[in-house]
C-alpha cells in the first residue's frame, strides 16, 4: 500500500496536465499512487494522461460531466494511501512537497491536514509575484489554532491553497466527502468541516504551484454565474457552524461575542448565537443564512421561549430583522431605477436644442 494517494480531478487541461503529472513523478518522496478522475474533458486531457506509462497512475474517465466534487469523491473511494494529497490538473508540486508534508504528518499526530504556501504561475509557467494577484495574500497567513481558523473562515469566506492540502485519509472519512451540490466553494466547505474537528498546519514555504489563468478560465473566476452560485453556496456552507458542539467551543471560535453579549450560556441556543454573529457580517449570504436559521429556530416553541427569557429576543425582534435585511436588494434596485429615470429624463430635456442654448447662457452668467 502506498503511503500517499495523490488525487487529481481533471477537466479540459490538455496543456497543463502533463506538467502537473511530471511534478508528481519527480518528487523526492516516491511512495505514492496517483488517482485521476477525468470529468469528461472535451479536449485531449485524457490522451495526455495516457502518455504517462507509470504504473502508479490510475485513470478513471467519466462518461459524462458530473462536477468536480463527484470526480474528487471517486478518487477518494479508490485511494489506498494513508495520506491524501490534492492536486488540480493545471497546478503542480515543487519536488520536496510530498516529502516535507509526509514528515510533518508523521511527526504531528494531532494535525489533521497540512498545507503550504504557493507560488502563483501564469499560463506559460512563469512566476507571478505575491503582489500580482489578490490570491497572493494567502501566503502571508500565519498558523493559528482551529478555533481561530474557524473565526477567520467565518468572517473572510476565504480558504487556503487547496492544492497544497495533504490530509489523513481517516480524517477525510470522518469529516465526510466533498459535497457535490457545491461547485464553487466546495474546498471552503471541507476546510470548515476539517477545522471543526482537527488542527491544521501550514508549512510556510512555497511547496505548491498555483496557476492563474488569463481571462475567466480559473474555476473560481468571477463570471456572473460563478458569482451568483458562490453567493448561494456560501449561505449553505455557513450551516457547518451550526454543528458547533457547545458553548465552550463557541466562545473559543467567537471570543468577541462574549464581550458583546453576556447571555452565551446555553448549548441549545448555539444556532441563535451563530446566527446573531452572522447578522453582523456585511455579506448578503451571511444575512440570508442568519434569517433562515432564526426562522427555523423560532418554529420550536421551547426554543422561542428560551430566547425570549435568556437572550431577550422575541418574535417582534425577529420581525424587525426581516424588514431590515434586504437580501434580495429590492431597496437598492428601486434606488437605481429612480436614478436611471431621473438621468433619462434630464438627458432627454438636455437634448432639446433650445434648452441647451438656455443652459449655456445660464452657465455663462453664473461664471
Amino acid at each position: 500500500m502506498p503511503k500517499v494517494s495523490i488525487i487529481i480531478p481533471s477537466y479540459n487541461h490538455e496543456k497543463y496536465v502533463g506538467y502537473a503529472l511530471k511534478s508528481v513523478l519527480s518528487q523526492t518522496f516516491q511512495d505514492f499512487e496517483i488517482i485521476i478522475t477525468d470529468d469528461h474533458s472535451s479536449d485531449k486531457t485524457v490522451e495526455e494522461i495516457k502518455k504517462f506509462k507509470d504504473k502508479r497512475i490510475k485513470l478513471f474517465a467519466s462518461n459524462k460531466n458530473r462536477g468536480v466534487c463527484v470526480a474528487i469523491n471517486n478518487c477518494l473511494a479508490q485511494a489506498k494511501g494513508k495520506y491524501i494529497a490534492h492536486l488540480n490538473s493545471d497546478d503542480a508540486f515543487f519536488p520536496e512537497k510530498l516529502e516535507r508534508q509526509v514528515a510533518h504528518l508523521d511527526e504531528h499526530p494531532e494535525i489533521g491536514a497540512v498545507f503550504s504556501q504557493a507560488q502563483m504561475i501564469d499560463e506559460e509557467g512563469s512566476n507571478i509575484p505575491d503582489t500580482g494577484h489578490f490570491h497572493g495574500k494567502m501566503n502571508s497567513l500565519e498558523n493559528r489554532n482551529r478555533f481561530e481558523w474557524l473565526n477567520y473562515f467565518f468572517y473572510n469566506s476565504r480558504w487556503l491553497w487547496h492544492p497544497s492540502m495533504m490530509m489523513r485519509k481517516e480524517v477525510y472519512y470522518d469529516i465526510g466527502h466533498h459535497n457535490p451540490c457545491l461547485a464553487q466553494v466546495q474546498d471552503f466547505d471541507i476546510g470548515i468541516k476539517l477545522s471543526l474537528k482537527y488542527e491544521l498546519h501550514i508549512i510556510q514555504e512555497k511547496l505548491t504551484k498555483f496557476r492563474i489563468r488569463a481571462g475567466e478560465m480559473n474555476a473560481s473566476a468571477a463570471t456572473p454565474k460563478a458569482v451568483v452560485r458562490s453567493m448561494f453556496e456560501f449561505s449553505h456552507v455557513l450551516k457547518n457552524y451550526l454543528k458547533i458542539k457547545n458553548v465552550e467551543e463557541f466562545l473559543k471560535i467567537f471570543p468577541d461575542a462574549d464581550k458583546k453579549h453576556h447571555d452565551i450560556t446555553d448549548d441549545e441556543l448555539i444556532h441563535f448565537y451563530v446566527a446573531r454573529e452572522a447578522f453582523e457580517v456585511k455579506h448578503v449570504f451571511h444575512q440570508k443564512f442568519a434569517l433562515d436559521v432564526s426562522y427555523d429556530l423560532l418554529q420550536n416553541k421551547k426554543i422561542a421561549k428560551k430566547l425570549s427569557e435568556k437572550s431577550n429576543f422575541d418574535y417582534s425582534d425577529f420581525s424587525r430583522l426581516t424588514g431590515k435585511y434586504d437580501i434580495y436588494h429590492i431597496g437598492h434596485i428601486a434606488y437605481q431605477e429612480e436614478l436611471i429615470d431621473k438621468l433619462d429624463h434630464a438627458n432627454k430635456k438636455l437634448s432639446q436644442p433650445l434648452y441647451r442654448v438656455m443652459s449655456f447662457i445660464k452657465d455663462a452668467f453664473t461664471k
Binding site: 454565474k225 438627458n347 438636455l350
Partner: protein, 364 residues
C-alpha cells in the same frame, strides 16, 4: 354562563378613530350567541380607554402593555376563547349585521368545511365606498375547492380577507393557531395550513367592510420594510407545501404538473416536485425556496439516487440552477450600474460638453 357558539376576537392597536364603530358592528349582529374578546396591543392612543367604556356582557377586554407582534396578540386571545367557532376581526373594519348569522349557518350545515370567508367592500377612512383599489381585485375571488385554493395561493399569494374569516376552533387548534414568526403573511400561512387539512368556503357576498388607510397605515402597507419582510416571509411560507401528504394530493393541487412531467409517482419525492413547480413561478422568493429545498434534499444520498433514476435530475443539473437563479439580483444590479454610468456620461456630455471632452481627452 353557557358556552358561546362563536368567539369573535380582535387585536386592537392605535385605532381610536375606528374601534368604537368596529365593536358596534359586532354587538349589533343579528346572531347573538357570541363572546367578544378584545386585546389592546399596547396602543399609545386612547383605544384602550374607548374599549373600557363599551358596556356589553359579552365583551371581555385584555391589555398587553408593550406592543407585540400581531400574530402573538392573536394567539394570546385565542388561548382565552371558549366558542366552537372563531371569528377573526380587526379594530378598524366593519361587519355587516348578518355576517355571523350567515357564516355560522354555513359551518353548521357543511361539516366538510373548516373555515368560511367572504368577499369585502373597500371603504376609506371616512367610511366611503372605494371601488378602485389594488385590494379590490385581490379579495374578490370566487370559491373553489381546497386544492384549487392551494394552487392559487402557491402562485399568487393571499387573497382571503382576514376580518371575514370564521374558522372552526378545533381546526385552528389542529394547525396550531398563528405562526408568530410571521408578521406580514401570518394569515396567509394559516390559510395554507387550513387548506392542507380541509375545504374552505368563500362567499361572494360582501359581509365585511375593509378599511383602506390613505397614509400607509394598513398593516400590510407598501413600505420598503414591509416589502422586504413580505418577500422573505413568502419564501418561508412556501415550506408548508412540503407537507403535501402524497402524490394524489400533489396532483390535485398541481394538475398541470402531472401533464408536464411524467415522473410524478413517488411520495418521498414530493419536496422535489414542489420545488420544481416553484421554479416556474417568476418570483425571486420562489426561486430561493426551490434552491434551498433542493440543496437540503440532495444531502440525502438515497433521495439523490432516486432523483437520478426517476427524474433524471442530478448534481450537475442542480449546479446549473445555482448559477442561473440570481436571487440576490447581483447581475441585475451590475447591469443597472453600467446603465447609470452611461447615462451619467451622456448627461455630462450634454450639460458640460467642453469640460467633459477635455476630461475624456486628458484620460486617454
Amino acid at each position: 354562563m353557557d358556552i358561546p357558539k362563536v368567539s369573535v376576537i380582535i387585536s386592537a392597536f392605535n385605532h381610536e378613530k375606528y374601534v368604537a364603530e368596529s365593536i358596534k358592528s359586532i354587538i349589533n349582529q343579528t346572531f347573538d350567541n357570541f363572546e367578544l374578546i378584545v386585546v389592546d396591543n399596547g396602543s399609545s392612543d386612547s383605544t384602550y380607554k374607548i374599549l373600557k367604556g363599551i358596556k356589553d356582557p359579552r365583551i371581555r377586554i385584555f391589555r398587553i402593555k408593550k406592543n407585540v407582534g400581531f400574530s402573538h396578540a392573536l394567539n394570546y386571545v385565542l388561548k382565552r376563547t371558549k366558542g366552537e367557532y372563531i371569528s377573526l376581526f380587526s379594530s378598524d373594519d366593519i361587519s355587516l349585521p348578518n355576517k355571523l348569522a350567515k357564516q355560522v349557518k354555513h359551518l353548521d350545515n357543511h361539516l366538510d368545511v373548516g373555515a368560511v370567508f367572504s368577499q369585502a367592500q373597500m371603504i376609506d377612512e371616512q367610511g366611503n365606498t372605494i371601488s378602485k383599489h389594488y385590494y379590490y381585485d385581490v379579495f374578490n375571488k370566487t370559491n373553489r375547492n381546497r386544492f384549487q385554493w392551494l394552487n392559487y395561493f402557491f402562485h399568487n399569494g393571499n387573497c382571503l380577507c382576514f376580518p371575514s374569516a370564521l374558522i372552526r376552533k378545533s381546526l385552528y387548534k389542529e394547525i396550531q393557531f398563528e405562526n408568530e414568526s410571521l408578521t406580514q403573511l401570518h394569515d396567509f400561512d394559516a390559510w395554507i395550513r387550513t387548506c392542507l387539512k380541509q375545504n374552505i368556503y368563500v362567499s361572494s357576498e360582501k359581509l365585511v367592510k375593509f378599511r383602506i388607510r390613505s397614509d400607509n397605515m394598513n398593516a400590510g402597507a407598501d413600505t420598503i420594510e414591509n416589502k422586504i419582510r413580505s418577500i422573505f416571509e413568502f419564501g418561508q411560507v412556501l415550506k408548508q407545501y412540503l407537507k403535501i401528504k402524497n402524490i394524489e394530493e400533489f396532483t390535485k393541487i398541481f394538475p398541470q404538473s402531472q401533464k408536464k412531467y411524467k415522473d410524478i409517482n413517488d411520495d418521498e419525492l414530493i419536496p422535489f416536485y414542489v420545488a420544481r413547480q416553484a421554479l416556474e413561478v417568476e418570483h425571486v422568493f420562489h426561486h430561493k425556496f426551490t434552491l434551498d429545498v433542493l440543496y437540503d434534499l440532495l444531502q440525502n444520498k438515497k433521495i439523490v439516487s432516486k432523483l437520478n433514476k426517476q427524474c433524471n435530475f442530478d448534481y450537475t443539473d442542480f449546479i446549473k440552477l445555482t448559477g442561473q437563479y440570481d436571487v440576490y439580483h447581483v447581475n441585475h444590479i451590475a447591469h443597472q450600474d453600467e446603465l447609470i454610468k452611461k447615462l451619467k456620461l451622456q448627461y455630462d456630455c450634454l450639460r458640460h460638453p467642453f469640460k467633459t471632452l477635455k476630461k475624456q481627452y486628458a484620460k486617454s
